[in-house]
Structures are given as structure tokens and as C-alpha cells.
């Protein structure tokens, strides 16, 4: 992409294909000038809406008003986190609640270059006397934890050990997602969200994949099942490490 800024007009009218859109949205995370320009070009495009007026069927009104019954509006944005795409937000609670999760199963993804003692259930290591990988991180001398409490009482805590180059995410009360969605984890490196694995919504704790030591923070988004290479707008939380 020789001149990515030149895509701003096409982006403002949704005239980019998926690849270019992903590239441009990544670019937006580091270009305030383009963010401002897209915003103003969208205002220009919006005037075209005056030319396309058509009254919808009356039944649509009833349908829409009924649709919103079970759905809670998302709270306003906190101060924007640098590095997130323009449309992204600091979402406080996920989509319509399917049901709270009670299971205590843990899913741990292997981190790079570290000896993991117990890749299974952290609550009950199958070999007594052995310490699970999660516990090793939590007990590391340089462990630092950051927490976020979501609007409906769910909590997310990420604990990182620079020395071990690992980070573990622990959650309570995160809602179950429908089958076609998954929680995806991200590590933040230089204002970019880098994929760090998927999280089974039954998991209570999960290791983040990738370089945790040099990350400045971590985040969780909701993505289609199988995950996504760029974060969606559906942000559950983004947290910064204290000693980034």
C-alpha cells in the first residue's frame, strides 16, 4: 500500500474491500489526521441521504421497538485508548446475555518458549504437588496484576510476569456467547492490537499467547467463531499494564 492515506475517501463511503478496509483501519489507529478526515468526509457523504427518502412499512416500527426490549444500551465511551480503531469503544458489557457461566474449567494456551507444567485445569492439577502454569505466573516475584470491573459485575484481571514472559487472564461472570461468537484476546504492542488467542467462554483463566513481556496492555473483544485477525468494535475491555 503505497499511499494509505489516499483511501480515506473510499473508506468514508464503505468502498474498500475487506483487505483494504482492515489495512486502513489499522492505519487509522496511528493517524489522527485520517481519523479526522474520515469523520468530515462522512459528513459530506451523509448529505446524499437527503436524496434517498422512503417511508418504511408501519410494521417495521413495531418490529424495531420490540427488538430493543431485551437489549441494554451500551454506556458511553471512556477516554479513548490510543491504538484502537476509530469506531472501537471501551465496551462495558457484552451482547445480550445468554446466561452467566458457572463452570470453573480452565483453558490454557501455551506461551512461547516457556516450560508449562500443567496445561490443564488450574483448579485441580492432576499431579498433586505440581504447580500449574497459572499459579506460577500469579506467584512470580515480578507479577503485576491489572483488573477491570465490568458494568454487570463481571471482572477481568490480567497478571503479567515480565521475567516469565507470560500473562494470564482471569475472569468471573463473563456471559456465555452464542455458538457463532468467541472471545478473542489481544496484547497491545506499540498501539497495535496483536492476536493473543481465543478464550472459551467457559474458561475462568487463560494464558495469553505471544510476547507478554514487552506488551503495554491486553484486551478482550467479541469476534465471530474462529476469531478474527483484526479486532472488532465489540470490545469487552482493554487494560494497560502499569510497568509497560
Amino acid at each position: 500500500m503505497t499511499d494509505v492515506h489516499a483511501l480515506s475517501g473510499a473508506y468514508a463511503v464503505d468502498a474498500l474491500d475487506d483487505i483494504e478496509r482492515a489495512q486502513f483501519e489499522r492505519h487509522l489507529t496511528e493517524c489522527p489526521a485520517c481519523r479526522a478526515e474520515v469523520q468530515s468526509l462522512r459528513e459530506g457523504a451523509a448529505v446524499l441521504g437527503e436524496l434517498a427518502d422512503a417511508a418504511p412499512p408501519a410494521s417495521l416500527r413495531a418490529q424495531v421497538l420490540s427488538d430493543i426490549q431485551g437489549v441494554r444500551p451500551l454506556p458511553p465511551l471512556a477516554a479513548s485508548v490510543p491504538g484502537l480503531p476509530e469506531r472501537s469503544t471501551r465496551r462495558r458489557f457484552p451482547r445480550p446475555m445468554v446466561g452467566l457461566v458457572a463452570a470453573a474449567a480452565a483453558v490454557i494456551a501455551l506461551g512461547a518458549g516457556t516450560a508449562i507444567v500443567q496445561p490443564w485445569d488450574d483448579a485441580a492439577p492432576s499431579n498433586p504437588g505440581q504447580v500449574s502454569a497459572v499459579e506460577q505466573i500469579l506467584d512470580a516475584p515480578d507479577a503485576e496484576a491489572t483488573s477491570d470491573r465490568l458494568d454487570d459485575g463481571a471482572t477481568v484481571t490480567v497478571t503479567r510476569s515480565k521475567r516469565m514472559n507470560l500473562a494470564v487472564l482471569e475472569t468471573t461472570g463473563l456471559p456465555e456467547l452464542p455458538d457463532d461468537q468467541t472471545y478473542e484476546l489481544w496484547l497491545i504492542h506499540e498501539n497495535q492490537m496483536v492476536r493473543a488467542g481465543l478464550m472459551d467462554d467457559a474458561a475462568r483463566s487463560v494464558m495469553l499467547k505471544g510476547d507478554a513481556a514487552s506488551a503495554s496492555g491486553a484486551g478482550i473483544t467479541i469476534e465471530p467463531a474462529g476469531g478474527s485477525s483484526v479486532p472488532s468494535d465489540d470490545v469487552v475491555t482493554v487494560m494497560s499494564f502499569e510497568n509497560a
Partner: protein, 186 residues
């Protein structure tokens, strides 16, 4: 309720964001024609346009609290949401016949005169058509194909027989002109 003058969309969005269903119903009444109208222009099929509109209003309800009046107008925010959904719908339908035709073989519904058919003879619509008249023909055609046709800029270049990569510049230049002529996006 009983207010004179056009409703303040920013205010209705703010209230909706707090869960005020009455405000949201007012928002619907104030904007559904423009939102559905845009959906129909892009997806063509009225049944699908209804679905797109329904999805758009659901997202509007969910995210109304995120609308920031400092960053743009309410109507632009609303139309951005429905436009994106309408284009996604068109692209996923993979209407292959559309992709291969040139602009001039196309159904002429996107030409300048036809946009007048669909519109009310409102002051605002007249202002917009006049502003469009200040664009070059290529800029106008490129924007119409992109915005109302849902085509990518690469497809637009092909349809208008432009060198690859130049459609995006025409679109950008045209939008700047439109924005400045209409006095929005300051």
C-alpha cells in the same frame, strides 16, 4: 412531544443511550425514512432493505450512548451505520452480474436525473442536487456508484474506465467538494 421545529437528533441519541425508549421511538420517527430510504437505494430489494434497517436500528439503540456530538452530526452517525450494513448485505449477496458490467451498461437508476425521482422536492434535497452539480462528472459518478451502488473503488474504476487506483481519488475529491459546498464537517 408537542415540540416545534425539527427534533434534536443528538439529544434523542443521548437519551436513547440512557435507555429512554420514548426518545428512541421519536428518533425512529424522525429518521426512519432517511435510513430505510438509503437502505433501499443500496440493496434495492425492499424486503432486504427492511432487514438492514431493522439491524441498523438495533445497533443504533445499542450504541447510541457512544455518539459524540463533538465529532460529528447525529444524522451522519446514523447514516454511517445503515450504509455500512447495506453495503455488507450487497457484497455478501455476491450479485455477480453487477460486477462485470460497465457503468453505461448498468441500469441507469444511479444517474443524476434519477436521484431526483426518488427524492422529495425538499429544500435540502435541492441544495444537495445543486452541490452535486458543482462536482465534475467523474467525481459525481464515482461517488454515486460507491455510495448508492455499494461498489468498491476498484470496481468503480473499472466501471468508469478509469485507470486503476484513480477512482478513490475522485471519490475523495468529490466528497471534499460536496462537504465544503454543503458547509458540513467543519
Amino acid at each position: 412531544m408537542g415540540a416545534t421545529g425539527p427534533p434534536d437528533l443528538g439529544q434523542l441519541l443521548k437519551l436513547s443511550g440512557r435507555g429512554d425508549r420514548q426518545a428512541f421511538a421519536e428518533l425512529y420517527d424522525a429518521t426512519a425514512s432517511r435510513i430505510f430510504g438509503l437502505a433501499v437505494r443500496v440493496v434495492r430489494d425492499p424486503a432486504q432493505a427492511e432487514e438492514v434497517t431493522q439491524e441498523a436500528f438495533l445497533e443504533i439503540w445499542r450504541t447510541a450512548g457512544r455518539f459524540d456530538p463533538e465529532r460529528g452530526s447525529g444524522i451522519s452517525w446514523l447514516l454511517t451505520i445503515v450504509h455500512r450494513k447495506a453495503v455488507d448485505r450487497v457484497r455478501s449477496a455476491e450479485a455477480s452480474t453487477r460486477r462485470d458490467t460497465t457503468y453505461h451498461q448498468q441500469n441507469q437508476a444511479v444517474d443524476h436525473d434519477s436521484t431526483a425521482d426518488a427524492a422529495h422536492a425538499s429544500m435540502e434535497a435541492r441544495r444537495v442536487r445543486s452541490a452535486l452539480g458543482s462536482l465534475t462528472e467523474v467525481q459525481r459518478e464515482a461517488i454515486e456508484l460507491a455510495y448508492f451502488g455499494g461498489y468498491t473503488h476498484t470496481q468503480v474504476a473499472g466501471m468508469l474506465d478509469l485507470p486503476v487506483g484513480t477512482a478513490k481519488t475522485r471519490i475523495r475529491d468529490g466528497l471534499i467538494r460536496l462537504r465544503d459546498t454543503m458547509g458540513v464537517g467543519a
